[in-house]
């Protein structure tokens, strides 16, 4: 399942997409420890698989929360680098 967390506002579109089918096979859940803003959490989804999600209380502030990692136009963010399966995508 492609789970899209985030929002669109006047300044742009800010979504993080997680391919949870890949999470179901993942053993290290490296995304969780990699993110300085603590955005990732591991949950048991409705199909009883352990998958990553973006914490609910942070979903509507992604632009601000990710700004440190993305400063200066950087594209090698800790979360995408940590996820060996390539399950994480950002829309901006």
């Amino acid at each position: 399942m492609l789970a899209n967390y985030g929002y669109e506002d006047a300044s742009g579109t800010y979504y993080i997409t997680i391919d949870t089918d890949m999470c179901a096979e993942c053993t290290d859940h490296a995304c969780v420890g990699s993110c300085p803003a603590g955005l990732y959490d591991i949950i048991l989804d409705d199909y009883d698989d352990e998958v990553a999600e973006i914490r609910e209380e942070q979903r509507n502030s992604l632009r601000t929360l990710c700004s440190g990692c993305k400063a200066g136009g950087k594209t090698d963010w800790p979360c995408t680098a940590a996820c060996a399966a390539g399950a994480i995508r950002h829309s901006w």
Partner: protein, 295 residues
């Protein structure tokens, strides 16, 4: 002086019992309760067939709303809470269903419910609820393959539409029809934010706009907003709308026009029960698993 104010946003609560099912004893009875921010539904299935449901406004206390909705669905059926063999809670208040065996997200339940209401061909689902709006893509079994939601602001939600109904003094059930009573479609309102809507609506009315023009502009703005969400997630022609706003033709027709599709017909079902219906269907699988484990 005590002045009674008319609340234009109030939609009619409802309940239904299937007249064709009287012999429910000894059969599989499952239930789903969907506690949304503005409405709560309770659905009861007998051997997977719709037996009864209720659809009411959510009160300030979620457990009480769940109890009321289920009590109303059970009313006059002879069935009691003890007869429910497996119940799933869903929706924003899902953890607050006191008699639920399990909680499941509304995204999973809406997809499963839409699969029943609109048939297995449905792939793209737009759930326009009271507080948020979700675009869901599912497979032929009603299993979610992707979703995207917008809950950052009330615009594009039932709450936003209720605010406009109240501001204009138009009954919520009339918005759709009245939004088409315009000679030509006005441009969509620029600000969809309900916080600014009051000022914007007042300014439009002062500049000579009729209520119908404001409604048309607001419905179009809402449609444009949700269409972006649909396109970004995954839009397929077998498309359905669940939730309360599915009943607002003013928004539905404009979504169809923008996307170039015709929304599937709900085959006699109330679109607002999609989440609770999906929960009650998933409860059948859960009950089987529980029994297989010897529970």
């Amino acid at each position: 002086m005590n002045e009674e104010r008319k609340e234009y946003w109030r939609w009619a609560e409802s309940r239904w019992t299937n007249p064709e099912i009287s012999d429910w004893q000894g059969r599989t009875i499952t239930a789903g309760v969907d506690i949304g921010s503005t409405s709560t539904q309770a659905v009861i299935l007998v051997d997977g067939e719709l037996f009864a449901y209720s659809n009411m406004r959510t009160g300030s206390d979620s457990p009480e709303s769940a109890n009321h909705a289920m009590a109303w669905a059970l009313e006059g059926t002879g069935m009691t809470l003890d007869d429910l063999q497996y119940t799933i809670g869903t929706g924003y208040g899902r953890v607050n269903v006191p008699f639920a065996d399990k909680c499941i997200t509304e995204i999973t339940c809406h997809a499963r419910g839409a699969n029943r209401i609109y048939g297995p061909s449905v792939r793209t689902i737009l759930d326009m609820g009271g507080q948020d709006c979700k675009a869901i893509h599912c497979d032929e079994r009603g299993r979610v393959t992707s979703f995207m939601m917008n809950d950052k602001c009330a615009a594009g939600t039932g709450r936003g539409m209720e605010a406009i109904a109240n501001l204009l003094g138009v009954d919520i059930g009339e918005i759709g029809d009245r939004s088409f009573q315009v000679e030509e479609e006005p441009k969509p309102v620029s600000s969809m934010c309900v916080v600014f809507a009051k000022a914007e609506v007042a300014a439009l009315m002062r500049s000579g706009w009729s209520k119908e023009m404001v409604l048309a502009a607001y419905c179009r703005a809402m449609a444009i907003r949700v269409c972006k969400l649909l396109t970004r997630n995954k839009m397929e022609p077998d498309f359905a709308i669940t939730g309360g706003i599915a009943k607002n033709k003013g928004v539905v027709k404009r979504i169809e026009e923008i996307m170039g599709v015709t929304a599937l017909e709900p085959q006699g079902y109330d679109t607002q029960i999609a989440g609770a219906l999906g929960a009650a269907i998933i409860a059948i699988d859960m009950l089987k698993k529980k029994r297989a484990r010897g529970g």
